[in-house]
Amino acid sequence: MSRNEERSELSAEERDFVARLREGYKPEPLSGARATAFHARLEERFENSRPSRGWFPLGVMVASCAALALALLASPGTDPVTRLPSVTPPAEPQVVASAETPAEPAAEPSESESSGEGLLEYAMLDDDMDEGAGYLPDDYEALTGLLYDDGTEDADAES
């Protein structure tokens, strides 16, 4: 599909309306002091993003957890399983079938998500970027796995 084909789907009046939005809704060009500040901050973040630095604290944390787990398991006469707090299994989720088009994911947390835990759960939700997973080239799949390994891949609930 060429860009001309897409634009031809708009009437002349619609194209004019879109052009007004394009001109009226654009940022000031990045120049002068703003550009300098942008690049200084970017360079700083780039240097701080080096994985060799970032992985060190994670490695320490993993090693600490492993050592703790080993210590627990190695304790004589104890059953590590019984140390665990009892966990009430969550209630079965109620699945309500609906013929209506599913609503778009909420842009903000609901009232019930306003507690600390609810907010955190909301913030960690993955978005709906992978609705077309089967459609996308392999590069996108690799990207998702590499950058965003939080594992939740919600289906696109948009209409």
Partner: protein, 199 residues
């Protein structure tokens, strides 16, 4: 793929992703910085414009999101195998960062008990240009996220439907549907901007 992007891509492939990520191999700090500079030069301006439009006209938020996307994109460049356009691949990262920013901004606002959303940077005075920009930003804000994203990408940033579909992880049919609905909604919301309407 543009010549610059191809050069960067080939360079990273040549040295391997592990070296480029850790900086421990053949890539010196200088080479790594130079390649990152070329990567930034390739995408900065359009990425800033796209992020700004998706974030309701917030300069600071757009700059923050673009910086994060540039760094993530450069770090992940070694995994790019060339079976998709590098630019579309990068903009997919950018859109994800925009969404991530919006989600955390919403959580922070809720936690602090204040209004949610990214507010446009306050502009000095109330010139017609600024007022128009604010009106359009508010109309965009009212659109569902999916509609807003495809409208900005296709109609304001001149992505093709297929490019937008790949960057957003949607089918082209969904993108076209969103485009139509967004246009109808904006024409209603900003009716006075239509041709022939009294200004």
């Amino acid at each position: 793929m543009t010549a610059t992007a191809q050069t960067i891509h080939q360079g990273i492939q040549e040295y391997g992703v592990a070296d480029s990520l850790a900086g421990a191999g053949a890539l010196s700090d200088v080479e790594r910085a130079q390649r990152f500079g070329a990567f930034v030069a390739e995408y900065r301006d359009r990425a800033l414009r796209l992020a700004w439009r998706l974030l309701g006209g917030n300069d600071a938020a757009a700059e923050d999101v673009v910086q994060e996307a540039l760094i993530r994109g450069f770090r992940a460049l070694g995994s790019f195998r060339g079976d998709a356009a590098l630019s579309t691949w990068f903009y997919r990262i950018l859109v994800r960062e925009v969404r991530r920013h919006q989600r955390w901004a919403s959580v922070r606002a809720r936690w602090n008990g204040i209004a949610t959303g990214d507010e446009a940077d306050p502009a000095p005075g109330g010139s017609p240009d600024v007022l128009l920009r604010e009106r359009i930003a508010k109309a965009m804000e009212k659109l569902p996220r999916g509609q807003r994203e495809v409208f900005v990408m296709v109609h304001l940033e001149a992505f093709t439907v297929v490019q937008a579909a790949e960057a957003l992880g949607k089918s082209p049919g969904t993108v076209k549907s969103h485009l139509h609905r967004a246009l109808v909604a904006l024409r209603n919301e900003l009716a006075d901007l239509r041709e022939g309407a009294p200004s």
